[in-house]
């Protein structure tokens, strides 16, 4: 009976997840190896991050963070919640307080995704690392971001490791890559 409801409506998540998946698939075709794809995802993420931060600052009422710990909390509890609808936990602080982990129980980017066997080095969600790096650069923080664990590669959780490198002087321009 054609009058019955047509399945469930699509939310932004699915359009986003599918678009991201199509992008990664395309990059895997365009580049010869996984490392190149990872780099490209990071670069694209960076370009998104440097713009996303403005959207974030405009929509959240977050002020300037006093230290890296506060930054971590804002990223996990405000930013991830706002953009991906999840709240990772902040753990594994280094003794110096300059490095921490975000543990994601679920990752919206990987819904319905399975990595084919010949892409064992692909960091599927590497866009996120670029986004974080780019966004923080715009608020004068140079960071290194990487995936330490990935459910797509068989780990139990997804773990993003973030390390504070240095403060960026405000009069140095940062541009697109």
């Amino acid at each position: 009976d054609h009058r019955q409801a047509r399945g469930t409506s699509i939310n932004n998540s699915e359009l986003f997840t599918l678009t991201y998946g199509a992008l990664v698939t395309q990059l895997c075709k365009d580049y010869e190896n996984d490392e190149e794809v990872n780099k490209q995802l990071d670069k694209m993420g960076y370009n998104i991050g440097v713009r996303l931060i403005e959207d974030f600052l405009a929509r959240s009422s977050v002020g300037r963070c006093q230290d890296f710990r506060e930054t971590a909390d804002v990223i996990a509890k405000v930013a991830f919640k706002m953009y991906l609808g999840i709240t990772p936990s902040v753990t594994n602080w280094s003794p110096a307080g300059d490095e921490f982990s975000l543990i994601l129980e679920s990752n919206p980017l990987v819904d319905f995704v399975e990595l084919p066997d010949n892409h064992s080095n692909l960091v599927y969600s590497n866009l996120l690392c670029g986004v974080l790096r780019g966004a923080l650069e715009m608020v004068q923080m140079a960071v290194e971001v990487r995936f330490a664990q990935d459910t797509l590669r068989g780990d139990n959780v997804t773990e993003i490791r973030m390390k504070f490198i240095k403060r960026i002087e405000e009069n140095l321009p940062a541009g697109d890559e």
């Binding site: 054609h2 699509i10 992008l23 996303l52 959207d55 609808g85």
Partner: protein, 146 residues
Amino acid sequence: MADEALFQFLHNEVIQYVYKSAENGEMENGRCVSKLEHLGFRVGQGLIERFTKDTSRFKDELDVMKFICKDYWTSVFKKQIDNLRTNHQGIYVLQDNKFRLLTQLSSGKQYLEHAPKYSCPVVFGVRLWPGARGTLQPGCEEHRHR
């Protein structure tokens, strides 16, 4: 649930990436089917699969068009089609006066030219019937025909 703004940023980035490839003059089989169209097509297929997996098949062409104009358009583009016309001979013109994927583009005209190439296949996704093709014109109309 992924935020609208995040999708818009990703969409823009995808267009920029593919635009750079297009500049290098890539064509396939002389058919000029761009990467952007393929991307959109793949996304559209996925969406249609999700959307229709629990439902009965479409009865006829009109059923399909109603689905596109209401349910599908609302889910993907956040509103219904503003106007639908047909010549009753297999050509349909769908008009959207405020096309979601174009209104956010702040870059110059170059992207306006390319962006619809993504959106169009997203609309037409999996071929709902063999031979269906469509074109998209900024000016926010789109044409669907056999």
